[in-house]
């Protein structure tokens, strides 16, 4: 994929549309601008915003779906997706309920817009065995991301992040874990002692 066809679709629009379509889903977002933008679009106790571990949103979301039996939305970037293609066969085999959204702006936006190697996330997901994939270039195309067959990969061609970038997520990571545990009514509560 290249940036040959500029898009006006924003990451915020993709996030708002998909999170409102699946209001009961758990949500994992990758580090950098994507977590900050998701928090600005909407914050729920079902959201886990990753602040580090670039490349890990996909396996974290897969494990979350497997343990909870719930629908899980993963908001990945094209850079973080490329970083961990090994997660794809795991999600293909065990990621029932996963809607894996790759927000593709063609660059490493959070670190200054450095260039990316071109890649085709939908083709890679299909090759790994995802049940369905779709390519989204416009707001109308987002209707394709209906989650009928999962795991689903949504390749969303998006514009770069609007500036000013929303602020960092104000919660400490451990608070997000406890908030999610409360939301899921987990019997095994993680300890409250922070690291």
């Amino acid at each position: 994929m290249t940036n040959a066809s500029p898009t006006t679709l924003t990451p915020a629009t993709v996030m708002a549309t998909i999170t409102s379509r699946f209001p009961d889903a758990l949500v994992v977002s990758t580090c950098g601008y994507i977590s900050r933008q998701l928090f600005a679009v909407e914050d729920r106790p079902s959201h886990i915003y990753l602040v580090g571990s670039m490349g890990m949103a996909a396996p974290v979301g897969g494990g979350l779906a497997m343990a909870s039996g719930r629908r899980v939305l993963i908001f990945d970037g094209d850079g973080s997706f490329a970083m961990n293609l090994g997660a794809l066969p795991m999600i293909a085999s065990h990621g029932r309920g996963v809607v894996h959204v790759v927000l593709d702006n063609g660059c490493h936006d959070s670190t200054g817009g450095q260039k990316m190697l071109p890649l085709d996330p939908a083709a890679l997901a299909r090759a790994a065995g995802y049940a369905s994939t779709c390519l989204v270039r416009t707001e109308a195309d987002l209707a394709l991301a209906n989650g009928a067959a999962t795991p689903l990969l949504v390749h969303a061609k998006v514009a770069r992040q609007d500036h000013p970038v929303p602020p960092r997520v104000p919660y400490q990571p451990g608070e997000l874990t406890l908030r999610l545990a409360d939301f899921l009514n987990l019997k095994r509560q993680p300890s409250n002692r922070s690291t």
Binding site: G63, A67, S68, T195
Partner: protein
């Protein structure tokens, strides 16, 4: 190369490790195999295993998946060779340790003694690296595997962090 170990000894240690995991309530296992853990993986891959085992392509991806399982209320264990530690350092330090949930890692210790050349540097540095990134660890006593596992299980829960049980004798 390490001295050959009897099949009986390997199976006995593997059984002790997996029996501990079952009794402690572990539900899922993921990771990347090591020949020092082949008895453990054999048990996990058995059709009657009470833990659900998912092979992972690389150790850091296994740690990410295990973290997602833990956040979702399951009780996962991650298994790997110490050669996978380098891949995992960022997954530990900026995810599993930072987000404050218990996670048990069972890690084989290649290169502790005379071993293949590729294990030497990481084998020598292993416990120093774990200490440097604040990962609590214990080495499993081959005659009493449950003891170190129980300590790591308890430390992970008590401090809501990742703890590493090190397997120095093939199991």
């Amino acid at each position: 190369m390490p001295a050959e170990q009897s099949e009986e000894a390997i199976t006995s240690r593997a059984d002790a490790i997996v029996d501990f995991l079952v009794n402690a309530g572990y539900t899922h296992a993921t990771g990347v195999p090591c020949s020092f853990l082949k008895g453990v993986f054999r048990r996990l891959e058995a059709p009657d295993s009470s833990l659900t085992y998912l092979p992972a392509p690389r150790e850091d991806t296994a740690v990410g998946w295990a973290g997602g399982l833990a956040l979702g209320g399951a009780c996962p264990v991650t298994l790997m060779q110490n050669s996978g530690l380098g891949y995992c350092l960022n997954s530990f330090t900026s995810f599993t340790q930072l987000y404050g949930f218990p996670l048990l890692v069972v890690m084989s210790w290649r290169g502790r003694d005379v071993d293949a050349v590729e294990h030497g540097i990481i084998g020598h540095a292993l416990t120093g690296i774990l200490a440097a990134v604040q990962l609590p660890w214990r080495v499993i006593d081959p005659d009493d595997p449950a003891s170190a596992l129980d300590w790591c299980h308890g430390a992970a829960a008590e401090y809501a962090t990742t703890a590493v049980a090190i397997v120095k004798d093939p199991a």
